[in-house]
Symmetry: C2
Subunit: 145 residues, 2 copies
């Protein structure tokens, strides 16, 4: 299934983050069956708490397409986007968001509640490869304690 295929690419990005001792979250943006950008969390390396996988992948996607909007693209991200990233996805008018594991502590629902933070046209699917994504996060935070 395509979603699993692309989410595995996002999980590879998360593994890359893990190797760099970053919170292991990864993202890819796909359009017309091609990966147009990738990103993983870089908040430690850049000393910038806004350098989330989604922000990096989105900015790279705008650059790749030369467009401010991504209505025909899908972002795959291993963990539920935070309110900041949900807001960035709103501005991108992205066609679809697929995320892996829920993040009850930092996910967008913490602030949005039952409000829809994405663009009205954006479709959302959750739970793809959720177990792998959650395990990466669990192992990371366990090792840090």
């Amino acid at each position: 299934m395509d979603d699993m295929h692309y989410m595995k690419m996002a999980l590879q990005e998360a593994l890359q983050a893990k190797e760099e001792e970053e919170v292991p979250v990864g993202a890819v943006v796909v359009q017309d069956g091609k990966i147009i950008s990738r990103g993983h969390n870089m908040t430690e390396r850049l000393q910038d708490p806004t350098a989330h996988a989604e922000m990096i992948a989105l900015t790279a996607a705008f650059n790749a397409l030369g467009s401010k909007y991504l209505p025909d693209a899908t972002l795959y991200v291993t963990v539920e986007p935070c309110p900041m990233c949900a807001g960035a996805l709103y501005w991108s008018k992205i066609g679809r968001v697929v995320y892996g594991t829920d993040d009850l502590k930092n996910g967008y629902r913490k602030v949005a509640g039952s409000n829809w933070p994405f663009h009205p046209q954006t479709k959302l699917d959750a739970g793809c490869c959720a177990a792998e994504a959650a395990q990466l996060m669990k192992d990371f935070f366990k090792a840090r304690r």
Copy 2:
């Protein structure tokens, strides 16, 4: 009054955006009485809808201080932050946010409702130089119609 002084600097940034035919929003980050970073909206120039004044000023502030967190800093921004920027301010743990004019269409309250999107320690003040900030926005959108 200090707040007005720094908000005038943010308004200068907004004027710079206007000259570049960008939505006229400006921001500065201040710590210990010094402006440590500035930013204005660059979404058109960069073709990146996440290139808001606050995001640019925050990232420059992290770089300037070599720190992921800004608990002793204040961000002045001419317009109410959007949900994305409120989320970025959350991650920054910034000490205080001062904004000028309300933005009922795109401000953070659109998604957050009565939830607090900033860090629990962040203080918030609204309305500083609101008339000037609002006039800039009004003139900009009027000219584009």
